[in-house]
Every structure is written in C-alpha cells, then in structure tokens.
C-alpha cells in the first residue's frame, strides 16, 4: 500500500544543495510524491538529509541520501514491508542532533522556510502579536533585559541596552537594522538561520521595531548568500500578505516594513558605523563613536543594529519569558549560542549549546572529535578578530569572560578546529593576510601595521625568519591595537598574539632551526625516499608534475631537491609509505 500520508522533507540549505539534495528532491517528485523542503538542520556532514513526517511527528531521518537511497525510500513508502534501515541516521548521530537545546535554531531544518503557515503552526508571530496588541515597549525591553540576551555578532553587548538607548534617543524617524553581513571566515550560522527560518528573524525585527519605535527595517545581507536573499524575499512577501508587515500591523496602528540591502563584499562592514556608511552608498569605512548609531545612525537618524542570531532569539524570549532564557548559561553569559564547527572536525555543521558548555564538549561530544583520529591541536574562535585556543585549554567554559581570558573571543561563533598538521605560524599569516586585505585603510596603524606584520610572517614561513622578529611582531601588535579606530584593527593582532602565547616554540623553530613543526610550510620541508621501503614501482615518478624524481623500475628512486616543488603528490601516490616529509 502506498503511504501517501507521510510528508517527505528534503533538507535544502546551501549545504544540502551542494551535497546533491536537488537531485534527490527531483527524484521524489518524478516518483509521484510531493516532497517539501527545509533549511539546514545543522548536521552538514550528513547531507543530503531526508525526513519523513506523520503530521508534526518525525518518523524517520535518512542521511547521506543519494539516488540509490532515495529509490530505497520510495520502495519503502510504496510497500511498508521493505526495509529502510540502511539509510537511517545512526543512534549516535541522532543523539547529537536531537539532543541539543535549540532556541535560535529551533525551527531550522524542520519547517519549510518558504511557507509562512509552517512557521505560524509552531507558534510563529504569536510573540509579535502579543507584544504589539497588549504589550508596551517598556515591557518588551524589560523582558529582554531579564533574559540577559547579548549581541550574538561578536561584541556581546546587552541587547536591551541598545534598544533602550535607541528608544530614548530623540527624533521621530528611527531605523532597525539586521546585520547579516556574515563576513567572519568560519562562521555560517546567520546564513543557515535565514535559509532555514527567515520568519524568526523577521518577527524578532518586528518586536524590536515596536520596542524602539521604528517604522523602517533593513536587512544588510551578504551578496555571497543568494539562497538566503531569495528565501528572505519570499518570507517578507508572505509576512506582508498576512499583514504582519506594512501599515497598521494587527490593527494596532503600528506601521513597520523591512527591505533587503545586499552587501557588496567588505568584511569591515560588519562594524556598525561602516555598515551604515555602506547603506548610504559610501565606501564602508568606520567612523569615531560617539555619536553611537543609537543617537546618530543611518541617514543621521537613531538606528539600532543587531545580528541575525540575536533577532532569532527574540520571539522565543517573548513567548517563553526572559527568565526561561536566562535559566540557561552562566552568570555573565545567558542563554544558548550557535557554533559553526568546521575544519578538521568530524561532524562539521551547526550546533547550539547552552552557554557554559566546555570547548571539549562541543568539539568531541558534538563534533565527534578530529578527522582521521589525529591529535587535536587548537581551535580558532572568533575568526580574524579572535584567537587560537590550544588543546590544553579544552576544558575552558564557553562564556564571554572565560573565552576573553584565553586571549580569544566568543565572536560570532565560528569554531575552526585544527589538528597536528596545521602550522600555527602559517595560520597567523593567513589571518593577517585577511585583515590586511580587509583593512579599509582609514587608520595608518591598521593599514600599514598589518602589512608589516604580514611581511614578517611571510618571511618566517618562507624560511627567512630573523632574530628579533617575534619582538617586532609584538611591538607592531601593540601599536595597531592602540592606533585603530574600529574593532577590525584593534583585534587584528589577536591571532598572532594568541599563537605566540601558546605556540611560541613553533615560531622559534621556524626562525632558528628553519623547521616547520606541522610540516606544512613548503620552503621549510623536504621530501625524501626511504631506500629500505622503496620497491621501485615508479608511481611517484609518474605522479610528479615537475619530473623531479628519477629511477628505473624496481630500482630505488630518488627525489632531486633542487627541482622539487614540494607539492606532496608523490607522498599521496606511494602505496608503500616510502616517502617521508621532514
């Protein structure tokens, strides 16, 4: 008997699509079913994910669904006797995925982001309605204050305080802006939230707008996120049709609408005043504060800017009360936080945990540990503004204060995990390359200082490290921190300072012994063939792109160091592990 009752949901976030969810979706359609879509559920490593729902109840989760698996699922749906177990999520993965405390991600991967009714069915827009019809702005701000919600974009500034300041600021016309310019390399929760649950962000903005007394909302979103922009556009249109946006919302006399502004690619535009400059059609360069945006922001009017994840928490807080949110977390950091796990971690994707969890819990219990079971070396928190926390501090508790004590920051929640193969000097070089390119150029110390630091780091990685380099780096770091106007410059030296703090021996090894501990800096390594292990099969010779290997078949081969470009293809091709890197 064909089971028409079950709803087929295919995960269609950017990650799912890249893994082939589009083909799977089409397969179900061609088989005569009517599948629906959901955003990213967070388990990117299991994509494409297909789920079966009986009404609101999830009855099956299939992972890594290719066309073959889809065919099996169709068989199962058509004839309940056939087995579908092979493609079901493992118990361990299910425990990780469904065992999380989810507030910001509560609907992601569950509802169809392109259907407002599915959001409403899960209590959506109730909070906005209650707030606008029977609440007051003061009550909302008080609730947010009780919740302890702090800015999830990086700075961790209390949300209620910003709202209050903007509300109290004189002036009729006010703006509420959602910062979706997620430029922090290694973070992708904002993209996932907009792709998976755009209405939560819209509802959060409606509540915020009511609290501060604003009629105009703007979402500043990266142009690199076409799917997020597409879904947000659909969501805005549906919210307008429902009367949740526009004139006289809920017949209360309150007017509010939101428009989208696509960013054009500049990391510095994550900074509030730079973002405002960009909205005004200028080069996105920060300016001195005060006046703060709450006093003088977009078009010179009082403006409030919050991050995507911050807004996504607001409807939940208003529905469940600030105290319920504050019940999670630690003394100085309330609620939950979404982290983007990436790098050398097994389970790449998004996880949401209450503040106060340890780094090890996130990386090992939820992230599954390190790929290929190598040794965990460090985790980069907070992107280019943050720092590297070594494995020895893995028991560090995740809250704003504890992370700051390590020299890193909470940041937007990017966690790039690194194993023994990652060179910490090269990583610092990588971040300085990024901040140097992204510096807007306004402040001399940031513009030129980051360039000088980068040059030194490049030289060290290339084997030209000199005595005194470390001291020069520290000196430059201090002057950049002091001489820069905005957080980009002030925090740009952090990756260098934290790697120096925890991995100073690697710097010294590069500079003094011209050796790279992780064996990743090419000018500092050599490839050699171990005579005892080489059988003379010739595979390395055939795979070498620069003819730097010679030897007759069944004779021991040799690598000519002067010709070797250290690409590593010989190592990958040798089945006898006869080539070593030193």
């Amino acid at each position: 008997m064909r089971n028409e009752e079950l709803k087929i949901v295919v995960g269609r976030g950017s990650c799912g699509n890249a893994a082939g969810a589009g083909r799977v979706f089409d397969f179900f359609t061609e088989a005569g079913f009517v599948p629906t879509i959901a955003g990213c559920i967070g388990a990117c490593y299991l994509e494409p994910i297909v789920e079966l729902y009986d009404g609101a109840r999830r009855v099956a989760t299939y992972v890594r669904v290719d066309l073959e698996a889809a065919a099996e699922i169709v068989k199962y749906l058509e004839n309940q006797n056939s087995s579908d177990d092979e493609y079901k999520i493992s118990e361990a993965d299910a425990a990780i995925l469904f065992g999380q405390t989810r507030i910001a991600l509560a609907n992601c991967g569950i509802i169809n982001p392109e259907e407002i009714e599915e959001y409403i069915a899960r209590g959506g827009y109730e909070a906005a309605k209650a707030a606008i019809i029977s609440g007051t702005a003061e009550e909302i701000i008080e609730e947010i204050k009780v919740s302890g919600l702090a800015g999830r974009g990086g700075a961790g500034f209390p949300t209620w305080f910003k709202w209050q300041a903007c509300r109290n600021s004189p002036g009729g016309e006010k703006y509420i802006i959602c910062n979706a310019d997620e430029g922090d390399p290694g973070a992708f929760m904002d993209r996932a939230i907009i792709e998976g649950d755009p209405h939560a962000v819209i509802e959060g903005m409606i509540i915020g707008a009511f609290a501060i007394g604003s009629a105009h909302g703007i979402v500043y979103v990266r142009a690199e996120y076409p799917l997020a922009i597409h879904r947000l556009n659909i969501a805005l249109e549906q919210a307008r049709q429902k009367g949740f946006l526009g004139a006289n919302i809920f017949n209360s006399g309150f007017n509010f609408d939101i428009r989208i502004k696509a960013g054009a690619g500049a990391f510095v535009c994550g900074e509030e005043t730079a973002l405002i400059a960009s909205l005004e059609g200028e080069r996105g360069m920060p300016r001195l504060k005060p006046p703060f945006p709450a006093q003088k922001g977009y078009k010179g009017k009082p403006s409030n800017i919050n991050n995507v994840e911050t807004f996504a928490n607001v409807p939940w807080i208003c529905r469940n009360g600030g105290a319920a949110f504050a019940a999670y977390g630690t003394e100085n950091s309330r609620g939950t936080k979404v982290f983007a796990l990436a790098g050398k971690v097994k389970n790449g994707g998004l996880v949401e945990v209450p503040m106060g969890a340890t780094l090890n819990h996130v990386i090992f219990d939820l992230g599954g540990g390190i790929k290929s079971d190598k040794a965990f070396k460090a985790v980069q928190m907070g992107g280019p503004s943050g720092g590297c926390i070594p494995a020895s501090l893995g028991e560090t508790v995740i809250d704003y204060k504890s992370l700051a004590a390590t020299g890193a920051i909470m940041g937007s929640g990017g966690m790039v995990v690194m194993d023994e193969d990652t060179c910490m000097v090269d990583l610092a070089r990588f971040f300085l390359d990024f901040t140097c390119k992204e510096s807007c150029g306004k402040c001399t110390h940031c513009r030129i200082g980051t360039k000088r630091m980068l040059e030194i780091l490049e030289r060290i990685c290339a084997g030209g490290g000199r005595d005194g380099d470390i001291e020069t780096l520290e000196e430059l770091a201090e002057s950049i921190r002091e001489g820069s106007l905005c957080a980009l410059g002030q925090t740009a030296p952090n990756p260098v300072l934290t790697t120096l703090k925890y991995f100073r021996d690697e710097y010294e090894n590069h500079i003094v012994h011209k050796k790279c501990n992780a064996k990743s800096c090419r000018p500092l390594i050599t490839y050699d063939i171990i005579a005892e292990k080489c059988v003379g099969c010739g595979l390395c010779l055939r795979n070498c792109p620069v003819w730097a290997i010679s030897g007759e078949i069944r004779d021991i081969h040799i690598i000519w160091q002067n010709d070797c470009t250290k690409c590593g293809r010989c190592v990958a091709s040798c089945p006898f592990h006869a080539i070593i890197v030193q």
Binding site: C15, P185, F188, G348
Partner: protein
C-alpha cells in the same frame, strides 16, 4: 556601449546617492563587469563625482572592472578551507585553466578568483560557480567539475 538596459535602475535610483551600490550591482548583473564608460555614465546620471563612483567600486570585493568569463569560479579561501587544503585546489584550478587569478580564459568560459569565506565551512574546501556550491574539493575533484562544466558549454 548600450546604456539602455540600465535605464530602469537609474530611474528608480534618481539622485539618491544611497542607491549607488544597488545601481552598481545591477549594472554588473547586466554587463558582467563595470567598464569605465558605465561608471562615468552612472556618475553623470546620479550626479555623483566620477571619482567617488570609482572609489566605491574599488572598495567592495564584489565589483569587477575587468570582463569575466561566462563561469565565474569563486574559490573559497576562508579559515576552514585554508586548513583543509584550499591552496592545493587553487593551484590545480590555475593549472587547469592556464590563466592567472582574475584573468579570463581565451575561450571566454572561465575566470577564477580567490574569495574570502563563502559560508559553507562544513563543506571545506568549497567553491561557487555562478550560484552553485561545490564542496569537499580536492585537486582532482575540482578539475573534474570544471571539465564537466566545459563539456556542458
């Protein structure tokens, strides 16, 4: 150069300098890149100094002042991609296409460019070709993908 296609964008923007970035985005959508004639024309119509239009254009990574191939290959060089081997992927792409970064291939099919994070970190190393995202790339896999696109053309 045909300026007509840009007319709706310019009419909507009027002389509101706040709309400049949006107009530039639409112009790039239409022409593929932003040649100097277009920038001058936009400056004239919006009554903004040409130097300022160029200043804004060169500030943002999205804007290109040189023509690009039919398929723009954006190679992510974010942190996660960096630690999982994006530089080897970039090398393979450069070798396969036979051009330097930001140069167009002779057949006009490809331009590749290294970009900051694409926000697909769990798929690292990742790239975007047009609106399509590809993940877990290796030097071999990326060449296969590009070959496939080439054959489709």
């Amino acid at each position: 150069m045909d300026f007509q296609a840009l007319e709706p964008a310019l009419l909507a923007a009027g002389q509101d300098s706040g709309a400049l970035i949006g107009v530039l985005q639409q112009a790039q959508e239409i022409y593929g890149y932003l040649p100097i004639e277009i920038l001058e024309y936009i400056a004239e119509r919006m009554e903004i100094a040409p130097a300022k239009v160029l200043g804004v254009t060169t500030f943002y990574a999205q804007f290109r002042t040189r023509p690009v191939g039919k398929n723009l290959v954006m190679l992510c060089q974010g942190t996660a991609c960096h630690v999982t081997g994006s530089s080897a992927v970039a090398e393979a792409v450069g070798e396969f296409l036979g051009v330097a970064e930001d140069d167009m291939t002779e057949d006009g099919l490809f331009t590749y460019t290294n970009v900051a994070c694409l926000g697909c970190c769990s798929l690292a190393p990742a790239m975007m070709v047009g609106d399509r995202v590809f993940g877990e790339l290796t030097a071999d896999k990326v060449v296969e993908i590009l070959e496939e696109i080439k054959n489709e053309e």
